[in-house]
Amino acid sequence: MADRTPGQNQPRITRRGFFQKALATASVAAGAELLTGFPLVWAQRLKDITLLQVGGSYSAIIDIARQATKDLGFKIEMQNAVTDALVNRVATQPKSLDIADIEYWMMGKLLPRQVLQGIDLQRFKYWGKVVPIFTKGEYPDGRKVSQQGVSPYEVQYLEKPNSTALAKGPTRWATLIPTLYNADTLGIRPDLVNRPIAHWHELFHPEFKGRAAILDVPSIGIMDAAMAIESRGDITYGDKGNMTQEEIDKTIKILIDLKKAGHFRAFWTTFDESVNLMTSGEVVIQSMWSPAVTAVRARGIPCYYTPLQEGYRAWAVGLGLMAHLSGLKLDAAYEYLNWYQSGWQGGFIAKQGYYSSVPETVKQFLTPEEWNYWYEGKPAQSEIKDPYGNHMENAGHVRDGGSLWERMGKVACWNTVMDENRHMVRKWNEFVAA
């Protein structure tokens, strides 16, 4: 596994150089702390530990595990699972994994089941550097982040390490350490849609009949629909991420009418379906994920991730510690959490289009061009490549939507699980069966 990004980009500091220097220093002064913060003696005791992280394939990537194992000295293993299986596994088989790599909205379902333990923020080195969306629920300029849906700040803190009650403000105990997040919007084929798209309601525009698609996950699909419906003016929601029963009924009715009128080509389940639908032109406007847009463009097909006036639908993923971790394994887990946010992982996933919650450390692991492109929204000065050296973007391209805060600063709602999710699932099933 190369420790530099393949290709001609030269990071300012290589990871191996970084850690080797630290190791050299430590071995000179016995007992001195390594970068990751534990003495050599302890490192010996931890070296037989294995931690299993289970998460989605966009987050729990094997390359990260390999690098972590190399840098930390004990073994990290990754397993991928789809969202449904993941949340069921964490809830019903908590002892079968160590680190839960889950989305923030899952906390509502998992917290009462007491399968995770509170994370002691005093043992996490970077909490002060985490973007304030998570730590304070506000943007750097002081505005409050939208709380529609399950915003991470709402479920970030606990009263006590093992309580099931969420704290209203910052405390010492966290539910998850935020790792990656992004703002999602609609993807379009600018060559087939010959006008600028500026509002969510365009998703339902009759001009795109038979050429639209949304995601086939009940809790997300309905949010995209709600954004479009509210933008069109049909309904004004109290909280799009937590609808009342009547709001759900009305939303689903609109969706059923659209479906019967043949407005949707398909609802995509897998990442590739969304890419294929866009690439083949079967669909010209759809909910999409950021890397999918990039994948379409990498095939030479124009695709634009449109910033819309009403804002983005955002999501965030974090690492949680399972309740059964204790003793040495728990120590290893904290070392892993600290390593995770020390920058390598952030640099890796930045090239898939995801933001890290600690951008400062990521900066050291990206070239200045990459940092400017992915985070600052500046035009790419040279070809942008993915972590494996494959072409992603041409020089001169600007990231759709701009910089980190131009995008994350306009979050309208977060991925969610609603209070009325029982009713919502039933209604969604009706919609699918219609």
Partner: protein, 286 residues
């Protein structure tokens, strides 16, 4: 060691029963119990309430789903039966050596050793608007524009089902046909029956148990599926188990369990009906 012939059946059936009791019996009992539990957003609470069942039976969604799934089952059953019977007939009566029968069988099985998931994904480049099938049709001049209904539709779902499950019909029917004594057929031919009469009067009745088993397989598989429907219909069709999987995704176990119990009762009735027409077990011990 001489074993009393009375004990032998019990010993023979014990391992299978043990495995099924542990790995099926316990989950089944849990599911039935959970179907009576109460739940809210936070936990599943042991109770004995009928609300899950009442909601299930009171909702028109249930009936829509069952109608949809049963329609799929009926159509797929008819198609797999027609195709399966014909193929089994060909293999049993027109292919002469055992070796060739094996070879042709295995030829049919090889696609199944490419994982289901891969094959599901590959339907898109095959049936899609730019896919092989449409391009072939256009090149041959059969149609002008690509056919949209081939993918992300009910037609696509049925095609995928038939593709996956015909083999389950072929194998039992072939087994039944292979056991038919050729002498009976020769006698019928000698008595002056033509091919259709032989099939109707001799082959069909003697393959009854194979047809019954194949039907049980196909019906069960279709009723219990959620994956094929989800992918091939592009999320536009539902089945009973797909609705169930949406509930499980949000940890809503009691209604999912109630749904499962109702489904099992329904399919059990269908299987019992098939077995009433053809008593497989009687043929076994008779």
């Amino acid at each position: 060691m001489k074993l009393s012939p009375r004990i032998v059946p019990y010993l023979q059936v014990a391992p299978l029963t043990a495995v099924l009791l542990v790995f099926l019996g316990i989950p089944l009992a849990v599911v039935v119990a959970v179907s009576f539990f109460d739940y809210d957003d936070f936990a599943v609470r042991p109770a004995f309430i009928l609300r899950n069942y009442l909601e299930l039976f009171g909702s028109s969604l249930t009936y829509t789903l069952y109608l949809k799934t049963l329609t799929y089952a009926a159509v797929v059953w008819a198609l797999t039966l027609a195709i399966g019977f014909t193929v089994a007939y060909f293999l049993a009566f027109h292919v002469r050596t055992f070796l060739w029968q094996m070879a042709l069988f295995l030829l049919c099985t090889v696609p199944f050793w490419t994982s289901n998931v891969i094959r599901m994904i590959s339907w898109i480049p095959f049936l899609g608007l730019n896919g092989i099938f449409n391009q072939t049709l256009i090149t041959l001049g059969v149609v002008d524009k690509p056919l949209e209904f081939l993918l992300f539709s009910d037609v696509a779902v049925v095609i995928a089902y038939v593709h996956l499950f015909t083999l389950f019909m072929i194998v039992p029917i072939f087994n039944s046909m292979a056991r038919i004594d050729r002498a009976i057929i020769e006698a019928a031919v000698d008595a002056g029956a033509n091919a259709w009469q032989v099939i109707r009067e001799v082959v069909l009745p003697l393959s009854k148990s194979g047809i019954a088993l194949g039907s049980i397989f196909v019906v069960t598989l279709v009723m219990g599926d959620f994956f094929v429907v989800k992918i091939m219909s592009g999320g536009q069709s539902a089945s009973v188990v797909l609705a169930m999987s949406n509930e499980i995704a949000l940890l809503q176990y009691p209604p999912a369990a109630a749904s499962a119990v109702v489904l099992m009762v329904m399919v059990m009735l269908m299987v019992a009906a098939i077995l009433r027409l053809v008593d497989v077990r009687k043929e076994l011990s008779g």
